[in-house]
């Protein structure tokens, strides 16, 4: 408990300090509301529109979560397939890195054309952004299996599948966790960017649309609120993935053992 407090309290106090400084700065310098609202103004706006913001947060969270899960599964499966063949690796891995390089804002309109407005397109854009880190890190982990342990499995005449399931995959867990943590943050970014293009305004508007709509009506306080909420979604997803990672590694990996 003490350790948790020692880790969590400093950043919390720092954040609160920054918020107080911000509030004081706004009171003193009185910038235009559409340029820089104060933290209290943001909270007030969020409270008024709380129902819409909560719906929006849920909507974004669901898209990001689904996109992340799809990216995780597709990334790990593809990496597992590629790890079994040098030939496939050489042919397909460079193409996979295109996922990383193509700017999402450019292909998001394509996704809308193919999948229509709404959830499918935002989930797809989340998955597209998040898949490559999972694939790259998983593949790296699978390829880095200790050759001594590979030989051990050869001695016991394990077949390819057994070797993958009982040796390569567990051995790659630290790398997989790294990839998933990166993907968690990216999934939220992908979702919000997708929402800019494909989200729809109204009752069910997701956070990305709230940002756009608020921007257009110069409601910067709502923009801040929506941005803060999407960061929160990212935090939660990242935190959940990190926690699962800690659970799976805590007993044996150097990164989690305290010695």
């Amino acid at each position: 408990m003490n350790k948790m407090l020692r880790v969590a309290l400093p950043p919390i106090f720092t954040a609160m300090g920054l918020l107080v400084a911000w509030e004081i700065a706004v009171v003193v310098f009185k910038p235009a509301a559409y340029l820089l609202p104060s933290p209290l103004a943001i909270l007030r706006a969020a409270n008024i529109d709380s129902r819409q913001l909560i719906n929006a947060t849920l909507s974004t969270a669901i898209s990001a979560g689904l996109g992340f899960v799809i990216a995780a599964v597709v990334g790990m499966v593809c990496a597992s397939v590629l790890s079994q063949s040098q030939f496939l690796q050489r042919g397909l891995y460079p193409l996979a890195s295109l996922f990383q390089m193509v700017p999402l804002v450019a292909i998001a309109p394509l996704l809308v054309i193919w999948l229509g407005y709404g959830l499918s397109a935002t989930v797809a854009s989340a998955a597209i952004v998040a898949v490559f880190p999972v694939l790259a890190n998983t593949l790296d982990g699978l390829r880095s299996t200790d050759p001594a342990l590979r030989e051990l499995f050869r001695i016991y005449k394990a077949n390819r599948f057994t070797r993958w399931w009982k040796l390569e995959l567990p051995s790659a867990t630290p790398n997989i966790v790294t990839g998933l943590r990166i993907a968690a943050g990216l999934a939220v970014i992908g979702t919000v960017v997708g929402e800019f293009v494909s989200g729809y305004a109204g009752e069910d508007a997701p956070l990305g649309m709230v940002v756009l709509a608020s921007m257009r009506s110069a409601r910067t306080d709502l923009v801040f609120a929506a941005v803060a909420l999407s960061a929160a979604v990212g935090f939660v997803l990242f935190g959940a993935v990190s926690f699962l990672g800690w659970l799976s590694l805590r007993k044996w990996h150097a990164s989690t053992l305290s010695r």
Partner: protein, 287 residues
């Protein structure tokens, strides 16, 4: 040349190990000649030690015997012990898992690094060979527990390899190697990374395990004393690429260490002599 005292310490109900005959083996690996000429022989249930220069092909020879590599030339022949009957249980009916265990592979390795799976606890590590051979969970865990109990490792059942000392890890690796009741146990400098005191203790443990399980053992080691203390015959491998010299018979009873006796010292001297022969003499001395 069998010492009568050796027969009395062996349980006649236990099935014997494989006999191994390496005939005229030479091996080229990745374009490089690693073994020039290897000839050696171990009788079923025997204990042979191989000592020699680093990089002289000892480890490769062990892998050839273990079936991990196929020799470029020559042959390796296995003979079954006359005491062995197919499918018969090891010692009476110690557990139901014996039948399933008996079907698993008959050659086991023990490496210097232990090679335990870091994400599994001791019990599941020891059960691994059985698991990879399709033995059911509770059967293989029972067999693993039996083996751990035999080696007084039961308290460590749930520990992870990272929590064990080097010596303990090595003992777990030995337990894993023996859980399948192998007929041939191949050890590649298993105690090389350990301190002298631990090494001496593990030597005696290995001796006892060999006596109890009646498996055939081939030990590659850098330590002349270890070789002479444990093995019935010592083969020196010299040169790069390596060749085996004629085996030196160790005519000491194998039930105890005898490291302080005069005969022991003399035998170590003979092994040492062979190890320091000049290269031309090496070429001349091999058959």
């Amino acid at each position: 040349m069998r010492n009568p005292s050796q027969d009395t310490v062996r349980n006649a109900n236990v099935p014997g190990g494989l006999g191994v005959h390496v005939r005229g083996v030479s091996h080229i690996f990745d374009g490089l000649q690693v073994i020039q000429q290897a000839d050696l022989q171990v009788k079923p249930g025997g204990f042979l030690a191989i000592v020699g220069d680093s990089g002289g092909g000892k480890t490769t020879l062990l892998r050839l015997i273990g079936g991990l590599l196929a020799p470029t030339r020559g042959e390796i022949v296995f003979t079954a012990s006359s005491e062995m009957k197919a499918g018969e249980s090891a010692r009476g009916t110690s557990s139901q898992s014996t039948q399933a265990v008996a079907q698993t592979s008959s050659i086991s390795f023990c490496f210097q690094e232990g090679r335990l799976l870091p994400w599994r606890n001791v019990l599941d590590n020891v059960a691994l060979p059985l698991e990879l051979n399709g033995v059911l969970t509770h059967e293989r865990r029972d067999a693993a527990r039996e083996m751990l109990a035999k080696m007084q490792l039961s308290n460590s059942e749930n520990k992870m390899p990272a929590q064990l000392s080097g010596g303990m890890r090595m003992r777990v690796a030995m337990a894993r190697a023996l859980v399948t009741r192998p007929k041939l146990l191949l050890l590649d400098e298993p105690f090389g990374a350990l301190d002298e005191v631990t090494r001496l203790a593990l030597d005696e443990e290995l001796r006892q395990l060999w006596l109890d399980t009646a498996t055939t053992a081939i030990l590659v080691t850098h330590s002349i004393q270890e070789a002479v203390s444990l093995a019935q015959e010592v083969v020196v491998m010299r040169g790069k690429p390596g060749r085996t010299l004629p085996a030196i018979a160790i005519d000491l009873p194998k039930d105890k260490s005898h490291r302080t006796s005069m005969e022991f010292v003399a035998l170590c001297g003979r092994v040492y002599e062979q190890m320091t022969l000049q290269t031309e003499e090496v070429a001349g001395r091999t058959p």
